[in-house]
Symmetry: C2
Subunit: 253 residues, 2 copies
DNA sequence: CGCAGGATTGATATCAATCAATAACGGTGG
DNA sequence: CCACCGTTATTGATTGATATCAATCCTGCG
């Protein structure tokens, strides 16, 4: 597995005032102070090529990142290769919080597409709390959102049937993508394979495929290659027993 | 399901200077300032009787709690009753962070034993960030630890075999309990039934029982009723593919 | 002593994993 | 444009793990 060259962030392409995340829907704005702090906190940008590791389980990370564009996965592995995808990572997500608290990462993050990262210095992390409480609060907020997603995934993998699980995953990813302007109407591109879905669902590849086929046969979703189309969002939500949560503008760092 | 009387915390029994958590091993100390802040932040104490709900999925919580003593579970349910236990809650754990960010809880917390709770005001939560950055940092730290546990559980439920899963759970709970002084040598009391274990593992009750029996037959663990005894911690760790993580003094609020 | 909740065990049914091909697709070089 | 190749998707057959069903057995308690 190739490793992203995390040691040499390229020069700033996007000063915080023109952060590409601002162009996307659903994100909250910074105050003057916050913007000023982030500008100092930001160290540069980095592109992680598709397939490379942004963090590797067992190693210490020197940087923290906000995803500016692209998709990734957080995952853990057992020694014999069994892999569990813990969550998918999308633009606006903050990764490496664990690294900021010292010690080794207990999971890896891998880029599914080329991923543009906003790079922060791990050593200056505590400054965030001392200097800019509102951003520290936002960070906690983001962390709690991620926590929520994990809870949902655990319920899925532990207790939902195969069909329910697949429905839940597709709906979740579709809605997360849509909230960030990554979907057009009922169409989304999922830049990953069915093997990735299987690893996220705790199912085998074959069974994942057959379960997807059942959803397609019922007219709920369809796809060709990576391009998915959600024909019946309601049905999907019913199958997944989706719990509606109000959408509020999401903070980011 | 009875509901804990969260509206009427009793008078302070333990001022923060004599917080019962201080008597336990593994917790870090407060500075003068932190102690002063916590004393103001703390609103009182509350006992949740065994079997009652401390938080209920779908409702808003008005308080936040630190567990002073007792065991609990965080869990989510599907409408037909299938339940997934997300994690076990032990003394020193902070619960309700999600409530502090507004909106409804997406999971419940239930007391397994009588649980003594340190009660904080939700409305004054942001103060923590403004007034006492070091404690805000600790909170984030705690949140990241919990995150880590969840990742581990998800790996278990998604990819470990039944034996590995049970081994992992027993070892995790034993070590968590021991770190808080709740175990004597290789003995620990787990105040819950095999049904609880099953719900945490994403397995059926019967299969959980049979898997436990296999571990007993191999001489790895034994138990009578709630009292477990860990005969071969090494073997358990090997089965679970435990990843050693350094132990540092744990913060708490 | 009798009851209730929990634990245990054996028999059977199902779901999902694995094995094994084949098919579709995308990219590459001629 | 076409032949070739590697990856991914799809499908059927079989195996295996786990769920479910159904007793029975403990154990602590009133």
């Amino acid at each position: 597995m190739a490793y992203a060259k995390a040691d040499a962030p390229v020069a700033l392409q996007y000063p915080c005032e023109r952060c590409p995340l601002r162009d996307r829907p659903g994100f909250r704005d910074f105050s003057e102070d916050e913007l000023a702090f982030m500008s100092r906190f930001k160290r540069g940008e980095l592109v992680a090529a598709a397939g490379t590791l942004i963090f590797e389980e067992g190693t210490e990370g020197a940087h923290l990142y906000t995803i500016l564009s692209g998709w990734g996965i957080r995952h853990k592995q057992l020694s014999d290769g069994r892999r569990q995808i813990l969550n998918f990572v999308l633009p606006g997500d903050f990764i490496g919080l664990q690294a900021s608290l010292g010690g080794a990462m207990d999971h890896s993050v891998e880029a599914l597409t080329d991923v543009l990262l906003c790079v922060f210095e791990r050593d200056r992390f505590t400054e965030l709390f001392d200097v800019c409480p509102s951003l520290a609060f936002d960070l906690t907020w983001l962390s709690a959102l991620e926590h929520r997603l994990l809870d949902g995934n655990l319920l899925s993998v532990g207790r939902r049937t195969a069909v329910e699980r697949v429905a839940y995953l597709i709906l979740l990813l579709y809605r997360r993508a849509r909230a960030r302007g990554l979907a057009e109407d009922d169409r989304v591109v999922f830049p990953f394979t069915q093997q990735h879905m299987a690893d996220a669902l705790g199912m085998s590849l074959v069974h994942t495929n057959k379960t997807l086929a059942r959803l397609r046969d019922r007219g709920v979703v369809s796809w060709t290659r990576n391009r998915f189309r959600i024909h019946d969002e309601e049905r999907l939500a019913a199958l997944a027993e989706w719990e509606p949560a109000e959408e509020r503008p999401r903070p980011f760092l």
